[in-house]
């Protein structure tokens, strides 16, 4: 058992479900209220705007909208998780950040197709941990161009 690979997940709340991302993908977590987001007109609907991250301009996306979830407005619990993939940074808004969870890799199972309200393309697995179900997100797929066509359609 001790030989198993440990995985650290940053877990957060979004539209009533618990999600997790690999901590190695997380660059930093910010309070929404602390930073001024600049609105970008005529961008896809889920793009909240852009922020200044130490001199670089990075986009913030509303994860709920990106997943097509019906989500409430932001409040003081709202956080921005800045994730990085291939040296590219992007901020994701979530309802609340919960904790960092240590799980063994083997507790993560293949996602059953109907487990969540969101597209299984965005999910890399389900962590079944002490009777909690944490949906582990695939950051790479969230930031990849599969839905390009759909995105541009919805904005025009």
């Amino acid at each position: 058992m001790g030989q198993n690979k440990q995985l650290q997940l940053v877990t957060f709340q979004l539209a009533g479900e618990e999600y997790g991302v690999d901590i190695l993908k997380v660059h930093e977590i910010k309070r929404l209220k602390e930073i001024g987001i600049t609105y970008v007109p005529r961008a896809p609907e889920f793009v909240e705007g852009v922020i200044n991250l130490r001199g670089d301009v990075i986009p913030i996306i509303d994860l709920g909208k990106r997943f097509g979830l019906d989500n409430q407005k932001s409040d003081k619990e709202t956080r921005i998780i800045v994730v990085k993939q291939d040296e590219k940074y992007i901020g994701l808004t979530v309802d609340r950040v919960n904790e960092v969870l240590n799980v063994e890799e083997e507790v993560i199972e293949e996602p059953p197709p109907e487990i969540s309200q969101i597209d299984s393309f965005f999910i890399s697995g389900i962590a079944n941990y002490e009777e909690r179900l944490v949906i582990v997100l695939d950051i790479n797929n969230i930031l990849s161009p599969r839905e390009d066509a759909e995105i541009s359609k919805s904005t025009r």
Partner: protein, 680 residues
Amino acid sequence: MSNLDFEKFQKLFLQEANEQLEIMEKAIMQLEEKGEDREIIDEFFRMAHSLKGSAGSMGYTAIASLTHEMENVLDKLRNTPGILNDDMIDLLFISIDTLKHLRENVEKDLPESVNPEIDHLLQRFQEITSPDGQKKQKAVDKKLYLTSQEFKNLKEKDQEKNVFLLCFELIHQQEMQSMVAFLIFNNLKDEGEIIKTCPPHLEEVEGDLPFFSILICTEKGREEIGKIVEQALDQEEYKIFPWSEIEKGEAGEYCQEVKESFARRDESRDSIRVDIEKVDQLMKLVGELVIDKERLLEISKGIKANSRDNPEAQALLQTIPHVDFIATELHESVMDIRMYPVGSIFKRFPRLVRDISRQTGKEVHLEFSGEDTELDRTILQEVFDPLVHLVRNAIDHGIEQPDQREARGKTARGSVALNAWQEENNIVIEVKDDGAGIDLEKIKARALEKNLVREKQAEEMDRESILELIMEPGFSTSESVNDLSGRGVGMDVVRTNIENLDGEVEITSEAGMGTSIKIVLPLTLAIVQALMVREKGNDYAIPLSAIFETMAVNGKNESDLIKTVKNREVVIWREQVIPLIRLSDFFQMGTSCQEGFLVIGGVKGRMVAIMVEAVLGEQEIVVKSLGDFLGKDKLFGEIPGISGATIKGNGEVALILDIQGMLKSFKKGGDTIERQSISC
């Protein structure tokens, strides 16, 4: 020379060799074009000579001997006019190619191999230079080349010790020449410091060696050295020059100071090589500095009002303008480091044009203008391949065969021009030919055939859009696929490459008259002056270079300024009718304000008036991209009317308006009121 010195000189050598080869290549081309011309031959000779000199002093024998033979041919050309022929031209071209190859070997640290190819070349040269064909003996370069620095060092050494140059001509002794040389070298080695030999690495040379020389610094006198030499030599002749004679130039046949090759850089450019990443890092830091500077200026405005009695605050207020000045200067200097003249890539074209015109049997004259126009180095490198493609196209598809041209009443020889100039914040590079022009009907037919457009679409297309079709992927009008162009990966690649640089490609063409293709590139002024405006609580920056005027709009003058034509709002400005864009409408942010400001702007002669709520003032901004996700060909797509972002003094982001993009996007929206005139 220490290793470090050697590396330094090697770099210098490589740089210079590059320039010299380019000049020589150009000279051959001019010779081919104009025939024998004393000035060109002289220039050519000078270049070959200084290349020979520096190659010799660095020990690159193959380069030195090849340039030596070139010198001989050129010298012959000077002395006996009328002997220039195609063979010679070809031979000179091949030599240049070989020299380039040898130079590359040096650059890659490969051994400078004396391969059969070079031997063959040398032989061909000698056949030309000795018409009787009798003297097939290899000409030997007897000179020992000393750089100015070496020359200076030797002069100092001669103060304390003796510097001698020993020159040996083994006329009688035909066998074991290298053995003799080795013995003398070995004996002398014990008597002092051997500074240089000709040929270099004398001790390792094998076989025939009819001539060699040794430069030595020793405590011994002339006679003693003579005795040592005579131990190995019987009746052979040798000459011995003390430093005083060398300095006076009496040993000129055997020793030369290669001042010109190294000293030349003083006149042209003293340069160091710096990793481009370091410059980028510097640029980024300067960007940060400019943001902070703007912040300081903002803070100082606040301090000014209530600090008349505070000497420290007054001192601060005096310092801030200076920081402002320094930061601006610093920015300009860093920008300048990255700039490079367009001519540096133009220089590579004459040869290309010559080769293509030979292959195609067309006669082409290449012209340049605006070689001094400067462009960011990185952009310049990226733009070379597209330009090559355009020039190929111009010759291959544009310029007609000589007989066709004459039949059309043109000169048999076609012309291709490479022009460059600056236009506001853009650099334009144009490839222009006087060929057949682009046949619009042919393009339409081709596009239909390739299913790039529908028939109905094609009928409605204007000239400009039809020409743009040739940049669609999969479009190629070439009837025969050949070596040069027409593989179907043509103009679309050019367009993609240029657009990746935030540039644009514009095509104009007239049947029978020729084609002009313009590459319009940004100057990459990463820091620009901008006007800050506000709309619906958001701040936007508009580059000042695109702005002509701002005007306040209020209830009183609104009806005078803003009119409605065909259901579109326009502004009458200096008797021009220009379309009005209300920023809120354009960005779909709700209803536009009725009072505010009109920003009159324009790019490339197309004007627009933009209505905003408030004008905040001018400021320097650092231009940044919208990141890795927003923008053309990025995951979340292009944002119409936004070209980038900047960071304001308070750390928040402001978007930069792209007037050209707005005009484009606006036009697509169905507006075509440009250039309409109404009387009022």
